[in-house]
Symmetry: C2
Subunit: 212 residues, 2 copies
């Protein structure tokens, strides 16, 4: 059985996708992933089988397991497969020898580039689908932070939690739809993050305390 | 005066360089950076001025400051400008409004992809040109680690330091020349990193303690 591919397609527009990723996707007979991504890389000849992500991740991996018996499969993901993406779930189901990973630019790398920020000393974490307490454990009040948010733990909620956890005020940015047409970067202060706005596909960047 | 560019060219072979980076480099009149990088992107028509990196960083930035008065300049760097690269020095000299950053894949992203590793929970640090003590402060014995090494703080030295700091044994990899023809990934154990080998352009990845 040939190896399947897990390919990072980057944060949005084609200019942020690696040639290695384009080539790998083109080589596959079956593309699996979000409908938008697999349609974008289906090619003109319609020879590829397209398997959209629907239902649970485990159900999706079942389909991958079936198709890889007979076809060269590629799972397309946004960003980098190794950064809050599908690779953890793939690793739980398959052996490393079963697949090949192609890395990609993650949204926060592009956001930091837009802002001219070096991210090497920033703490990277996510509030998506986990407690704010466990998020906080990965941060340090002195260092900068890159935080993936979700509907429950949105920038306002996270800002309030950090303020209540005795973080000092600092500047930061709320970055939405990075790499996409609707990209929006809003400057904020930790103590004053708008409450009522609905944020989508959103990451929050906070400067180190010393940058104040 | 037009903005200059700071462009991440990725870890080596062209397949790991973003189309946005290629396009940005092509748009510049002056390319500044390592001789190898600027020659690779000089184009065929030899119309670009090439300014190789020589001497100190400050001297290099002086040249950038001069050329940007009259020309569209691009500084080419390997990896991602925001990750242990030139961007910190650029930020100290210039205002964010003076330049545009194009992100790139860093070597550790490609190394983790090769190994099929999710790096989201790994601590990222560097032992390059700083004390092992300050490197240790960025790590946690339970978490995985990605460590950039140098000649003085090579994998053996770092392994010994972590062992002496009561880290438990764990598996890891020494990754050399990632993304280049001479790429080499060697599996190691923290307690048993070869002493005499000379490592070049090297990063070390250590699994979390719980992966044992």
């Amino acid at each position: 059985m040939q190896k399947f591919l897990v390919i990072g397609m980057g944060p949005g527009a084609p200019e942020w996708t690696l040639p290695a990723a384009i080539e790998a996707a083109a080589s596959a007979e079956v593309l699996l992933g979000s409908e938008k991504l697999i349609n974008a890389h289906a090619g003109n000849e319609c020879k590829k089988m397209l398997v959209p992500l629907s239902g649970s991740i485990e159900h999706f991996l079942d389909k991958l397991e079936t198709h890889r018996q007979n076809y060269k499969c590629a799972v397309l993901v946004t960003g980098d497969p190794g950064y809050y993406s599908l690779l953890s779930a793939v690793r739980r189901r398959f052996k490393p020898a079963d697949f090949i990973v192609i890395p990609g630019i993650t949204a926060f790398q592009l956001a930091c580039a837009r802002l001219g920020l070096s991210w090497q000393n920033y703490r990277l974490t996510s509030a998506h689908g986990k407690s704010l307490e466990s998020m906080l454990a990965r941060l340090s009040p002195e260092d900068g932070a890159v935080i993936l948010t979700d509907r429950n733990h949105n920038p306002h909620t996270i800002g309030k939690y950090l303020t209540d956890s005795n973080w000092s005020n600092r500047n930061g940015w709320i970055c939405e739809n990075i790499g996409k047409e609707e990209e929006d970067i809003e400057k904020i202060e930790l103590f004053n993050i708008p409450e009522n706005k609905e944020y989508r596909l959103c990451l929050m960047i906070l400067q180190p305390a010393s940058a104040e």
